[in-house]
């Protein structure tokens, strides 16, 4: 098993200055036995950037997040991650024997821990649920608590591992708005794993597609905020990303050619979309 403090040990002295939320990864490889989970991956996140990481299950996206979170160590490569990083997982992972406020305040250092925890809970809209036990909270409330637990520690980098996947559609939309607002207010860098292309387009500055341990596509998303599903430019971005993930049908793949669609980083935004793809957009 890998060491706990991998991220810190791997930090390069020439990396981003302290106080920056920037991430850089160079030539990172991670194997599990014969399986290569990450294959010589390079990428970076600018300070304050919101990056969505798209990929199917088994593509290596969770491995990448665990490396960045310091929960796992790479077999080779260079990893520069801010020490102040927090993770919100798909499940809230609250301690069931502690009330919400105690979960948020757990392990806080410095003064006024409870006051800071309360402020964080108010910020995520849970000012009325301080004393609730996790078992009595809804999925959305529990996930907000997990978000407060991360925010109260003033992270420079927030890692989100499919944080809304287990929530119902309405709650998910509200949580997406909340995360966007918190990101804007706290000037965080965010890496969010998702397999929801719409979610990536709604929130991220850039979407990365990972497949079989390799980062394939990076798509800049410069739609004006606040964004809405179906605003101009949305549909074509969705088609591009769906194509990159490989959800496109065989005709479209043949027409576009996997080399051009999948392996080109940062293709121009106005790249023509094969007509046969438009069917997918409705799906």
């Amino acid at each position: 098993m890998a060491s706990v403090i991998a991220g810190d040990r791997m930090s390069s002295p020439h990396g981003p200055s302290a106080g920056s939320g920037a991430v850089s990864i160079e030539g990172v490889t991670r194997r599990f036995g014969d399986t290569i989970a990450l294959d010589n991956v390079d990428f970076s996140i600018d300070d304050g950037e919101f990056v969505a990481l798209l990929g199917r299950s088994g593509s290596g996206k969770s491995t990448l997040l665990r490396l960045l979170a310091g929960l796992d160590a790479p077999d080779s490569g260079q990893l520069t991650v801010p020490r102040e990083r927090m993770v919100v997982f798909q499940e809230p992972r609250l301690l069931p024997w502690k009330r919400a406020i105690e979960n948020v305040a757990l392990g806080l250092k410095g003064s006024q821990q409870l006051a800071r925890a309360r402020a964080a809970m108010v910020e995520v809209g849970l000012g009325h649920r301080f004393d609730a036990y996790p078992a009595t909270m809804s999925g959305g409330e529990a996930q907000r608590t997990a978000l407060a637990r991360a925010l109260v520690r003033d992270p420079k980098l927030l890692l989100l591992d499919e944080p809304f996947a287990a929530l119902d559609a309405l709650t998910r939309m509200r949580m997406q708005r909340l995360v966007e607002a918190l990101w804007a207010r706290h000037r965080l860098s965010v890496l969010m794993i998702t397999h929801d292309v719409d979610e990536a387009i709604l929130l991220a500055d850039r979407a990365l597609v990972i497949e079989r341990g390799c980062l394939l596509t990076s798509v800049k998303i410069d739609l004006p905020r606040p964004r809405e599903v179906g605003q101009p430019g949305f549909v074509s971005l969705r088609k591009r990303l769906l194509g990159a993930i490989g959800v496109a049908d065989a005709d479209a793949d043949a027409a576009a050619g996997p080399e051009t669609t999948l392996l080109t980083a940062n293709p121009p935004l106005d790249a023509p979309i094969p007509a046969s793809r438009s069917r997918i957009a409705v799906a």
């Binding site: 706990v4 979170a69 310091g70 929960l71 927090m86 993770v87 997982f89 499940e91 992972r93 301690l95 069931p96 024997w97 502690k98 757990l106 392990g107 036990y133 996790p134 078992a135 009595t136 637990r149 520690r153």
Partner: protein, 270 residues
């Protein structure tokens, strides 16, 4: 049972429920009455089994002259001392084995082997080592109760959700805080099951050790009564053992309800 599917009127349903409950009490009451009649009619000699009325009279007498209270305290004292030692010993061993690799190698294997020994088979050794006074009695209860506590606390510690451990790593929790806030509370439900089990085992061992060279305690009371063929007092002893077991089990359940108030199944019932 009913052939037709017609709805039963509410009143009829309540009546049938209460009459069913009454039937449940009726059967034991009938047996008790039969027992009384059998004794009164001389079908069963009081040297074989005293009548319920005799048992009640003896209970009353033993309560009034203080014999019962005195011996009850002695028996309770043995269990309390044995359990206290078992909780400290079993708990600490489980913490050492559960929280460190070295501890696991050093402690878990011998504990797993020793727990297969039938504790009662140790009585000759304990008499040899500790004589026939209070020490072997308390020691035997302690040894027997240590195992359920050790096993459940150890399993509880090892069964902690690794996802919660990961959270502790992400929020940079210290090792002491991890043990205090994550591992021990997670092990508590399992530990309380162990406690209940250990209490049950303690009573069992108590009954056996009090049959051996005891000069006080409920078991002594029963043994002494046997010498005089006082089956009424022997039955009183049985009743006391049963009541004690029941009372302590209820106490552990209350403790459980208090300590595990956060559990979904207990929320809203407290």
């Amino acid at each position: 049972m009913r052939g037709n599917a017609q709805p039963i009127p509410a009143a009829a349903r309540t009546a049938s429920v209460s009459s069913r409950q009454w039937l449940r009490i009726a059967s034991p009451l009938a047996l008790l009455a039969l027992w009384q009649i059998a004794a009164a009619e001389g079908w069963v000699s009081s040297h074989t089994l005293a009548s319920p009325a005799q048992v009640l009279a003896s209970l009353w007498a033993l309560v009034n002259d203080g014999t019962l209270a005195q011996n009850l305290l002695v028996s309770l004292g043995r269990v309390v001392k044995g359990m206290a030692i078992a909780i400290v010993a079993g708990g600490s061993l489980a913490l050492l084995a559960g929280l460190s690799r070295l501890g696991e190698y050093a402690i878990d294997a011998p504990m797993q082997m020793l727990r297969t020994l039938p504790v009662l088979a140790l009585i000759p050794f304990f008499i040899l080592w500790f004589g026939i006074g209070e020490t072997p009695k308390v020691a035997l209860i302690a040894v027997a109760a240590t195992f359920p506590i050790y096993l459940t606390v150890y399993a509880g510690i090892r069964g902690v959700d690794t996802k919660l451990i990961e959270v502790a790593r992400v929020i940079d929790l210290s090792r002491t805080a991890l043990i205090r806030h994550v591992i021990l509370p997670a092990a508590l439900p399992s530990a309380l099951v162990g406690l209940r089990y250990a209490v049950g085992v303690s009573w069992l061992i108590l009954v056996v050790v009090e049959q051996i060279n005891a000069t006080s305690g409920i078991g002594y009371l029963m043994n002494d009564a046997r010498d005089f063929m006082r089956t009424d007092i022997m039955v009183v002893g049985l009743l006391i053992y049963a009541a004690l077991g029941l009372i302590v089990d209820i106490m552990v359940r209350l403790l459980e309800r208090h300590l595990l108030a956060w559990r979904p199944s207990l929320l809203g019932t407290a």
